[in-house]
Each structure stands twice: as structure tokens, then as C-alpha cells.
Amino acid sequence: MAKQGKVAVIGLDCVPPELVFDRWREELPTLKRLTEQGCWGKLKSVVPPITVPAWSCMMSSRDPGELGIYGFRNRKDHSYDGMAFATATAVREERVWDILGRAGKQVIVLAVPGTYPPQPVNGCLVGCFLTPSAESDYAYPAALKQELTERFGPYRLDVEHFRSEEKERILEQIYRMTEQRFAMARHLATTRPWDFFMMVEMGTDRIHHAFWKYSDPAHRLYQKGHKFEHAIRDYYRFVDEQVGGLLPRLGDDTSLFVVSDHGAQNMEGGVCVNEWLQREGYLALAEPVTGPTPIGQAKLDWSRTKAWGEGGYYSRVFLNVQGREPQGVIPPGEYEAVREELRRKLEAMLDEKGRPLGTRVFKPEEVYRAVRGVPPDLIVYFGNLRWRSVGSLGLGSVHTFENDTGPDDANHSEYGIFIWREPGRRSRPVEGLSLMDIAPTILDRFGIAPPAAMQGKVIA
């Protein structure tokens, strides 16, 4: 296909290559056909491989350090509790649709993480799942909200009350959310002029976290023959059909990408990072906790605390530094030594049976081209992301198989999927791709030279 035709991106959050290209390849005819019409392969995510900031990194080709976004919430200063959500206004670098819009291209942006509150674009934009409610102003232009509500009902932002054993309800909500999103996609693609179209579906992430244990024999809670054993597979088939239904609206000549921001894998357990820090002498409490207590509600003795951590699919560890934090204790001259000591100890952590966890630890300046905002001092993948981080204190042990917050079925993995169908492009697997390559490649299809600041390469 000659350059300067249309480009479309279908994002499927959290989809791993193992499921699409291997295990269920024959069960997903649309995606399989797309791989036979173009190139495909694994797509390396960023550090950390989390929805926020991964999609913004993909669309700007800038790493989390350059964006100053290290997760859903980020420290806005060096106070102990000054966290702010990374919404659209936190993304200060241009994303693909900004550049295309300036070049006179019309864009449709639907539910791409990092787009609430909606910012003006040359076209239309529907905000992502971080919209507070269906009553919020989630669309640009503003009138689009009424049109979508009248046609499709209130915007199904996400699955409600996710931490629940009401799996039938959760499953139903995932399907309804996906159905609505693809219906919106078909509607926008056929009623608006566009040169660039992009949507992201979040159901693929939600289904993993809620149902992984039923379908993965390696999961400690797997039960063969459970009624939800095929829930993820059946949902993937549904998504494949939805993608198939969208393709005619996007056009056969359109340069089409199907991508994910990271993958998914079995979650083996949780590491109570603050319990561990306390036991290792890095964290001290001013008052003991009675039972599981989120770190934000515990009273820490900052005069005797060198480090604390955040929970989530990965962990961020922060150091309490003199002259930086309000009651810092680590002299600046000892910062690196303490950080390196912590890193060594984290990497040497064992699981509940005394086996090496295989934890990976990153220093921001080692993995990012620039470090903006207030970064964590260490980024930690417990068990290389096979274990989540639990921020609460008072659970009585470092290892836990009960979660203090969200579900415990699946964690993220480092590689997502990449499929690129374009007329004239021969089918072949490709290797060595990063999600940073997507934005430069999209711009290149429009004959626009990617800005020098973009880190990724144009995929040949």
C-alpha cells in the first residue's frame, strides 16, 4: 500500500503473544488471517509493563522517564503522601494523533488509556476508563457524548466492583463493555471522516485478572473442568469476532495494526514489600498495626525509616533522603550505597519455600533516557512479575497468597502482540520490536518524518 493512505490501530490491552500466536491461533480466525496478510510478532513493553504509562509511551515513542509517568499514580513532590493520578494532562509529549492533527489529518481516538480528560484533537476523541463516570464530560467535541449516549446507552467505562467472587456478573460486564466499545468503534469509523483511527479494548486485561486461574493448569488454584475453564478462550473468540466485524468499516486498503501494551502470565503470589522492608530494618512503625493495614493508613516512624514501597503488579520503592523528603534520614552521600544494598537484597529474595524468586530491580536512570517528575528510587519486578507487590502491613508474613486489594489470578508480562496488515505486505514473523516503534511507523505511513525525540524505529 502506498504511503499516506489510512492507518488504523486496534489495541487489545494485556494480550500475550502465547495465546494469540500459539495456544489459540486456530480458534481466532480473524487475527490469524491478519497475520497471514502481514507481519506479526512479540512487542516489547516498557518498564513497567502497565497500561499507564505503556499506551502513552507507545503513542509518543517516549519512555516513562521522559513522560515522568511511572504508573497510574505518581509522586508530585517529595512529601510522603503527595500522589497524583496520571491523566491526559500529565502526558506532556505529543502523541501520534497530535502530530497527525497538526499535519491536517483527521483522527478518531476511542478509549485509549491516558485520554481523560479529553483534549482537543483534529477529529474526535472518547476518553478512557479513567473517566470518573458516564456523567463526566468524556468526549471531544463535547456534543459527541450525547450522540453516543443516545445510541449506545451510558458509557460502560469498566467492570464495577471487580474484587468479587461474583464471576458471572464480572464476565457479563466484560462482554457488555466490549460489545459497546466495538459498537462505538463501528459507528465512529463509518460516520466520521478519518485518516487515523485508534481504539483500545480493556476487556482483554480484565478477563485475565479475573479468570486466569480457571484456564491455566500451572495456577495453584486451577481446577480441571471448572465451569469457567474456557472463559478466557471463549472471550478471545468473541473479541476476534468483534475485530472481524470492525474490519470492513476500517477498509481493506487501510494499514492496520493490532497491538497490545504488554502480556499476561500466571500470578504465583504476593510479596508484602513493606513487611519485608520492616523485617530488614528499612522501615519502622510509630504505632503497631492490628491486622492488614494499607501503607497509606499506617503510621510510620519516619525518623527510623529508610525506605517504603507501593503495591501493585510491580513495586516502586522510595527512599527517605535527608534534604529531599521532609523527615529524610539517609544522608545524600549514602544514597547510592543504600540503594545498591537494597537492590542486592531484593534480587536475592527467596520465595516461601526458600527458592530464589528471580526478582529484577531497575534504577530509573538505567532504563530511561531522561528521568522527569519524581521517579521511584527503585522499580521492582518480584519474581520477574510472577508475584505481585502487596503494600499493606500487618499480614504477618512476607509472602502471601491472599491479596489485600485486587484479584490474584494473573500478572502482567513484558511482551504484547504486534500484527500489521497492509496490502502488499508479505506475511512474515518479525522480531526485535518494541512498542516504541509503533508511533514512528504510523507517522512514516503518512510520509511524516518521526520527530528526532521519538525513541523507536520505523518498522520496515
Binding site: S136, Y313, T405
Partner: protein, 212 residues
């Protein structure tokens, strides 16, 4: 004093150098002038060092060879450094074509905002405010940036102004907003997207989803 030891100018702002760089006729001086006037109007202490004007006294005699240009920028940078550390907003508008020297000034000054006036060469040639592009293209003027001398655009400027696509006033307005966001000017430029109740609801939702 600010937390990082910088003296404060009026209205509690800390000193900063706003460094405009770009091809001749890309709009640097025009926007720098607008910004300077607006900041003075708001009561800030401001000094504008325009490349053309500076070459008539501070850096008089320095030519347009690489060495001459480098020394020109270093001297402007040094003055900006002195102004910045005394709580003044120093605005420099000079082609400053070489990346390495701009980065040297950045390191020296510290509180430094690089503003790239990004304008295609064709548009700059069309503007040709002083007729110099015409002379350079005719071979009558040597060592002219964009024609016979190189320009190295910044790789990571804090602000990019696409001056071929918006008016100088619009660029200036955007720049002022950005300076507020970066904390160099007072005023809440960042729109708070959530009410406290909404933020609490989002936090609960993300906790349930396992992200927090």
C-alpha cells in the same frame, strides 16, 4: 530563597533562563519580545538578550565562524546565568545553532528552559525579515545558518513552538501556560481533572483492579 537555594524575584517566582533557539526568521525575537512584555506587565523582573542586539556590544567583534558563534553563545549564557541566580527571568533569543554549546549553557545555568522555534526553512526564507536569506542564497552572505551553515535542532527541548502554524501571540500564550505548568510562574495552569470524590472513586476502582 526557594527550596533549591535560588533567590526569588518578585511575586515569588524563581529565576529562570528562557532560551529561544531556531533558524533566522523562525520567530524567536518576536515571541521573546511578547513574552518579555507580558512578564514585565505581571510584575516580574525580566531581561531580554536578543542575539542581534547583543552582537552590538556584549559580543561585538565576534564573527560567525563556529568559534565566534560558540563564544557568542557562551557569553550570552554567562549573563543569563548571573541574572537567573539573582531571581531574574532571563530571555535569550539567539539562533544558537550548535547543540553542544546550548547544552553547555544549560549545565551552567541550571534553571533553564529551551524553547525551539520550529519553522520550516522555506517559510523562514519567505519571511526574510531583513533580506538576509536573499543575500545568502545569492552567495552574497557567507556563514548564514540554514543556507551555508548548519542548524542542529534540539533533541529534547522543554517547549516546541510550531511558528509556521500559529500566530506569535498564540505561541506566547502557550509558552506562558507551559511555564506555569513547569512551576516557573505562579498560577495553577494544570487542570485538576478529578474532584476529591472522583479521585477517591478512581482510587477504589484501581485498587479493586489490582493496579494499586
Amino acid at each position: 530563597m526557594t527550596n533549591d537555594g535560588q533567590p526569588q524575584g518578585q511575586r515569588g517566582t524563581r529565576g529562570v533562563t528562557l532560551w529561544f533557539t531556531g533558524l533566522p526568521c523562525s520567530g524567536k525575537s518576536t515571541i521573546a519580545q511578547i513574552i518579555g512584555e507580558e512578564l514585565r506587565r505581571r510584575g516580574h523582573r525580566v531581561e531580554l538578550l536578543d542575539g542581534d542586539e547583543v552582537r552590538t556590544h556584549l559580543t561585538k567583534g565576534l564573527g560567525f565562524s563556529k568559534e565566534g558563534r560558540d563564544e557568542n553563545i557562551r557569553r550570552i549564557g554567562y549573563v543569563c546565568h548571573l541574572l537567573t541566580r539573582n531571581g531574574v527571568i532571563a530571555i535569550a533569543a539567539a539562533i544558537s545553532p550548535y547543540r553542544a554549546i546550548r547544552d553547555e549553557v544549560r549545565k551552567m545555568v541550571g534553571s533553564f528552559v529551551e524553547i525551539y522555534a520550529d519553522c520550516p526553512l522555506e517559510v523562514c526564507i519567505e519571511r526574510d525579515v531583513k533580506g538576509m536569506y536573499k543575500k545568502a542564497l545569492a552567495g552574497e552572505m557567507k556563514e548564514f545558518t540554514g543556507i551555508s551553515d548548519p542548524y542542529e535542532p534540539p533533541l529534547h527541548p522543554e517547549v516546541v513552538l510550531h511558528t509556521d502554524q500559529e500566530t506569535a501571540e498564540a505561541s506566547a500564550a502557550r509558552l506562558l501556560g507551559r511555564l506555569q505548568e513547569m512551576g516557573y510562574l505562579p498560577g495553577a495552569a494544570v487542570h485538576e481533572p478529578y474532584t476529591p470524590e472522583e479521585e477517591a472513586a478512581i482510587r477504589r476502582r484501581l485498587e479493586q483492579l489490582g493496579y494499586l
